[in-house]
Every structure is written in structure tokens, then in C-alpha cells.
């Protein structure tokens, strides 16, 4: 059972004991991946961490194998990709795994981020954990962008041109920075070559930040749908086998979707123009980035000034860093925040709308709609998050994870859906009457929706 620490870790195998006393890697694994206490109420939104780790490994393995057949030279890069598709044994499979994998990686990471925003996973004591996640997101975007340049098709070339030109908006030093990025006076061989080198490097930097991300996670422990921290061992289950088996099941479901794309519609998420070799004299009529960058592209185009658009686009990403301090509510989970819940789903809708608008032509009604949704995107973070924490009356937060879980399955209680002050009192009375043996540690008082006070880390004692 969780909460007993490393003291009871006694490997039977003599060799393992010998190694572990010199390099305690087995006790570390046991502590962090076997016994690690995990909230017992985690739902399937908590499986994307494992899915993302899997995706990073898949991308690195498929990427390294592709690099064995690719050549970063503008004369042959496009043909080398076709060579992979037609001549290399299973080259088509490995390339589709890699190309579709990028999209799957972003599907998973956006769901992972949405989970964090909904359940308040960025709040104390998980600010650093959240910020490391934002760093990973930015590194992922840079990696994906540079990877998309490598096939040297029309979208590769013009995507690279447009994105690198963003930096020319910086006053005075902008044009110099762009030539420095290009290694020339336009996107050319020098650019392709360095993007390949960096595309190979960045995933390993991501892997490094992922280690820090998981480290930070294992200091504070998992958040959970109630947002109430683990208070006693009754609130938790050990990571293995409860979470491992759940993660594996979710991963298999995810792989079904992934496999469907790889084997049936591998080019569905790509752009057909990228099967036209790069031509520096002809811009495609419709330049669009990959789908996962479309919301940010829509924000860029919504602002009628070059520098303003670039600032807004980067701000849309960087604002995530300060989310832990923008949200003033003391309640973590949106389950108990009726107004924030509405604002959150409005934000999700906004992201989809901006994604759709990013793929439309920059004219007419689309520009106006882009501006409206850009406004909501920023208002969600900069206005609603600070404001709702002050004006909103949260519903009663359960005293413990166990209480919340038991109530859900108690038919007489009316379930957790029933909110408000009186429902809270009613539930609380029932709970106390039937509590019997154990009160779950220090409880927060009243039915007024007070949050739990001490976010105790699930340290083992």
C-alpha cells in the first residue's frame, strides 16, 4: 500500500540489492512508479501524461530512423522523402508514423493542457510544474515547425518564410535577426540544413524538460477531479497496478485512433501543396500552417499591424506562464466553480473557432470573427480568471477525495451534481451520520464552499 515509503523495499534478488545499495535506481523506481500514492478518483483525462511520454519516444525512434535515409540539402531533400516513401523498406510506414505522430502529439498535449485548465492543476503548489509544461509546449511547437520544413515542399518553404519573417517585425534588429536565422538573404540551403540539426536536437531538450516536469509532479503529487489534495492513505491508490493498467488501456485506445490515421488517412491532416517541390518564385494561393498552429495563426492575422500581430501571437502563448497568478480563485477544480466552468467552455470553443478561422482567407467576415475570438482568448486569461475568483460563489468543496467518491455512488444523496448551500448541508449531515470510524484528517468547515486549506504533498512517512 502507498504511504509506506522505501523502507519496506527489499529486493529478493542479490544482484539487484548489490546494485541498489550503490545506485538506488531500483528503490527510486519502486518509490516513484510502483508505490507512488495517486488520488483514487483520477479520470481518463489523467492518462495523457503517459500517452505524451509514449508519443515522445515514438517520435524520437521514428525520427532517428528517418534521419538515416534523409538528406538536408535543397537539391535533393524533396526527392529523399519520396525515396523514403517508395524505396526504403517500410519507409512509408515510418514516415507516416512520424508525420501523423506530430498531430497525435498535439491532440494529446492540448487535451492535457485543457485538463490542467479545467481542474486548476496550475495552482499552488504546482506553478513550476505548469510552467515547465508551457516550456515543453513551446519546444514542441518549434520542433514541429522545423520538422515541417524538412520535406522541402511548397508549404515547407513558405511556412518557413512566413514564420521566420515574424522576427523582422522587431524594430531595428529584426531584419538582422532574420538573416541570421536564414544564414542568407532568403530561406535556402543554409536554413534547411540548420533546421534539420535543430529538429534533431530539440526532442532531446524536450525529454530533459519532461524529466523536470515529472520530478515536479512527484513533489506535489497528482491533482484530481475534486482539486482536494490527498489527506490520508484512504484517498490514494498506489501507482502500480491501478494507474499503470489504466494508462495502458487509454494508450491502446489512443493508438487505435493513431493507427486509423496512419493506415487509412495518413495525409488527412497534411496539406497537398507540400507534395509540390519548394519554389521560391511562387507562393501558394493559401498558406496555412499545420492544424495545431492555426489558432495562433488566426490571432496573428487578426491584428491589423505587423508588429502588433506578432506580439499578440507570442503573447497568446506566453500568457500561459502567468496563469497560476491570474486565477484568483481559491478553489482548484471547475467542478465547484459554476461561472468559471462556463468561461472555460467558452475558451475551448474559442480555440476551435480560431483554429477554423486560421484556415480561412484573411478577408471579410473572417477578419472580424478572428478579432472577436482573439479578444475572448485574452479576456479569458486577463479578465475572467482574476475577476471570477472574486465575484464567483463556489459550490461546497468536499472535505476529502474519499467523501467525494463515496457520495457519487450513494444513490440517496442525489450525487455531486446537486450544488448549493443547502444541498451541501444535507450531504454533510448524511456523511457525518454515516461516517462511523474515521474522520479524514483536518476538514474545512461549513457548507460555504471553502477550499481545503493545506495542499499537503503526498509525502511518505
Amino acid at each position: 500500500m502507498a504511504g509506506h515509503g522505501t523502507s519496506n523495499f527489499q529486493p529478493k534478488n542479490k544482484t539487484i540489492r548489490w546494485i541498489d545499495s550503490r545506485l538506488p535506481i531500483f528503490s527510486l523506481m519502486n518509490e516513484q512508479a510502483v508505490e507512488f500514492p495517486t488520488p483514487k478518483n483520477l479520470n481518463y483525462m489523467w492518462t495523457f501524461g503517459a500517452i505524451l511520454t509514449f508519443m515522445l519516444v515514438v517520435m524520437i525512434v521514428s525520427g532517428i530512423t528517418l534521419a538515416m535515409h534523409y538528406a538536408a540539402n535543397t537539391d535533393i531533400a524533396f526527392n529523399r522523402v519520396e525515396h523514403i516513401m517508395r524505396n526504403v523498406n517500410y519507409g512509408w510506414l515510418i514516415r507516416y508514423i512520424h508525420a501523423v505522430g506530430a498531430s497525435m502529439f498535439f491532440i494529446a498535449v492540448y487535451l492535457h493542457i485543457a485538463r490542467g485548465l479545467y481542474y486548476g492543476s496550475y495552482k499552488a503548489p504546482r506553478e513550476i510544474l505548469w510552467m515547465l509544461g508551457v516550456v515543453i509546449l513551446i519546444l514542441m511547437m518549434a520542433t514541429a515547425f522545423m520538422g515541417y520544413v524538412l520535406p522541402w515542399g511548397q508549404m515547407s518553404f513558405w511556412g518557413a518564410t512566413v514564420i521566420t519573417n515574424l522576427f523582422s517585425a522587431i524594430p531595428l534588429i529584426g531584419p538582422g535577426i532574420v538573416e541570421w536565422l536564414w544564414g542568407g538573404f532568403a530561406v535556402d540551403n543554409a536554413t534547411l540544413n540548420r533546421f534539420f540539426a535543430l529538429h534533431y536536437l530539440l526532442p532531446f531538450m524536450i525529454a530533459g524538460v519532461v524529466v523536470l516536469h515529472i520530478w515536479a509532479l512527484h513533489v506535489s503529487g497528482n491533482n484530481n477531479p475534486t482539486g482536494v489534495s490527498i489527506k490520508t492513505s484512504k484517498d490514494a491508490v498506489p501507482f502500480h497496478p491501478y494507474i499503470t493498467i489504466k494508462d495502458i488501456f487509454a494508450l491502446l485506445m489512443f493508438c487505435l485512433l493513431y493507427g486509423y490515421f496512419v493506415f487509412y488517412i495518413p495525409n488527412y491532416l497534411g496539406h497537398p501543396d507540400n507534395y509540390i517541390p519548394a519554389d521560391p518564385l511562387v507562393t501558394p494561393a493559401h498558406i496555412v500552417p499545420e492544424w495545431y498552429l492555426l489558432p495562433f495563426y488566426a490571432i496573428l492575422r487578426a491584428i491589423p499591424s505587423k508588429l502588433g500581430g506578432v506580439i499578440a501571437m507570442f503573447a497568446a502563448l506566453l500568457v500561459l506562464f502567468v496563469v497560476p497568478w491570474l486565477d484568483t480563485s481559491k478553489v482548484r477544480s471547475a467542478t465547484y466553480r459554476p461561472l468559471y466552468k462556463i468561461a472555460f467552455w467558452g475558451f475551448v470553443f474559442t480555440c476551435f473557432a480560431l483554429g477554423w478561422l486560421g484556415a480561412q482567407a484573411a478577408e471579410g467576415i473572417y477578419v472580424l470573427l478572428s478579432r472577436i475570438f482573439t479578444l475572448y482568448y485574452f479576456a479569458f486569461f486577463l479578465v475572467l480568471m482574476p475577476l471570477l475568483g472574486i465575484i464567483e460563489t463556489p459550490r461546497r468543496v468536499p472535505n476529502s477525495i474519499s467523501e467525494a467518491v463515496l457520495h457519487k455512488h450513494d444513490p440517496s444523496s442525489g450525487g455531486d451534481k446537486e450544488g448549493g448551500f443547502w444541498a451541501g448541508i444535507k450531504r454533510r449531515g448524511k456523511k457525518l451520520a454515516g461516517a462511523g470510524g474515521g474522520t479524514d484528517g483536518p476538514t474545512s468547515g461549513g457548507g460555504s464552499g471553502r477550499p481545503e486549506a493545506a495542499p499537503a504533498a503526498p509525502k511518505k512517512d
Binding site: 518564410t161 519573417n165 536565422l181 544564414g183 538573404f185 532568403a186 507562393t283 498558406i287 505587423k306 478577408e363
Partner: protein, 192 residues
């Protein structure tokens, strides 16, 4: 440490000085060592050497025709404009232009540098317009004889340029750049 601080003021300042001096030398050393690794990304000697195009015959271009030549990896538009196009550009008051600078390195220092049609067209031949065919917004190639002003239109983000390549509408901040070019004979120019 605290004891040292209180008892030996002289040693304290000396040690501070040593820390700062060591740190400064280390910072200069690291900066100096980093510079070659930063500067290697700048355009190399081979790219710099592609400074100018071979002579281009512009007499063969009839009014209303354009050609594109490559210069430093970018297209250069060379267009002999029709009389109507020149007239339309001349008739546009400067106050209608979002960017009122000529963006033409070929006009001498004595010129007023405003974006009149005279300052945009070739000095020797005003109907001839030579411009870098790269949108000043985010680097796409504008399409000729398109847009609301009959000049160039960039499909990427909707910038409209007029018949003198001046930005009129859309997100692009400046007029299309004019490259340095010279007439090497009556009929031929060299870009760069």
C-alpha cells in the same frame, strides 16, 4: 563567513573585488568563445558573394509586361508599366499612402525621399519599375496586376500594393523594397 565579514573589513572588500574580477573575466571569456558559434549562422562568404545579377535586357520588356529575376534568393520584379498605371500612381496624393518613404536606395541623397512615382520608378525611365518581389509583411510573393489598386496583391495575408508598388491596404508595414541597380548600358541593368 559572518565572522570574517565583521572582523576583517579589508579582506572582505578584497575578496569581493576578486570575485567580481574573476566573474568579469569568465563572462568575457564565455562571450568570446560563444561568438564564433553565433556568428557562423550569419550569411556566409558564398552567399555574400552572390551580390549582383548578370546584365538584364530591359528594352525587350513591352509596356504591360513583367519579368522576374532571382537576386540573393529572392525574386526581383521588373515591370514596364503602361501609361495608365504610371498616371494612376502619379494621381495618388501622398496623404493616401500608409508608408510615405520611397524605399529606393538608387535616388541620390538630394532627393526628398518621399514615395512619389518619380522616386519609385527608374531615374532614367520612370515607367520601368524594379522591385524586390517580397511582401514586406511576412515574405510571400505578391501577385501582379491584382488587388484593389491594380498593382500587386499578396495572397497570404491580404496586402494590396498600387501600380508603383506602394502599400495601400493590409498588414504590410512598408512599400515594396527597391533593390540597388544600375544601367550598365542603354538597355541593360544589373541588380545588386
Amino acid at each position: 563567513m559572518a565572522a570574517t565579514d565583521q572582523n576583517a573589513g579589508e579582506e572582505h572588500t578584497r575578496r569581493d573585488f576578486l570575485y567580481i574580477a574573476t566573474g568579469a573575466v569568465a563572462a568575457i571569456g564565455v562571450g568570446g568563445a560563444a561568438w564564433p558559434f553565433i556568428d557562423q549562422m550569419n550569411p556566409d562568404a558564398a552567399s555574400q558573394a552572390l551580390a549582383s545579377t548578370p546584365p538584364i535586357d530591359v528594352a525587350a520588356i513591352n509596356p504591360g509586361e513583367s519579368i522576374s529575376v532571382m537576386w540573393r534568393g529572392k525574386p526581383v520584379f521588373i515591370r514596364r508599366r503602361t501609361e495608365e498605371e504610371v498616371q494612376a500612381a502619379k494621381d495618388t496624393p501622398l496623404s493616401d499612402l500608409p508608408d510615405q518613404e520611397a524605399r529606393n536606395p538608387n535616388i541620390g541623397g538630394n532627393a526628398d525621399n518621399v514615395a512619389t512615382d518619380e522616386n519609385r520608378g527608374a531615374i532614367e525611365d520612370e515607367a520601368l519599375l524594379v522591385m524586390i518581389g517580397v511582401c514586406t509583411h511576412l515574405g510571400c510573393i505578391p501577385i501582379g496586376e491584382q488587388g484593389e489598386f491594380g498593382g500587386w496583391f499578396c495572397p497570404c495575408h491580404g496586402s494590396h500594393y498600387d501600380t508603383a508598388g506602394r502599400i495601400r491596404k493590409g498588414p504590410a508595414p512598408t512599400n515594396l523594397e527597391i533593390p540597388p541597380y544600375t544601367f550598365v548600358s542603354d538597355n541593360e541593368i544589373v541588380v545588386g
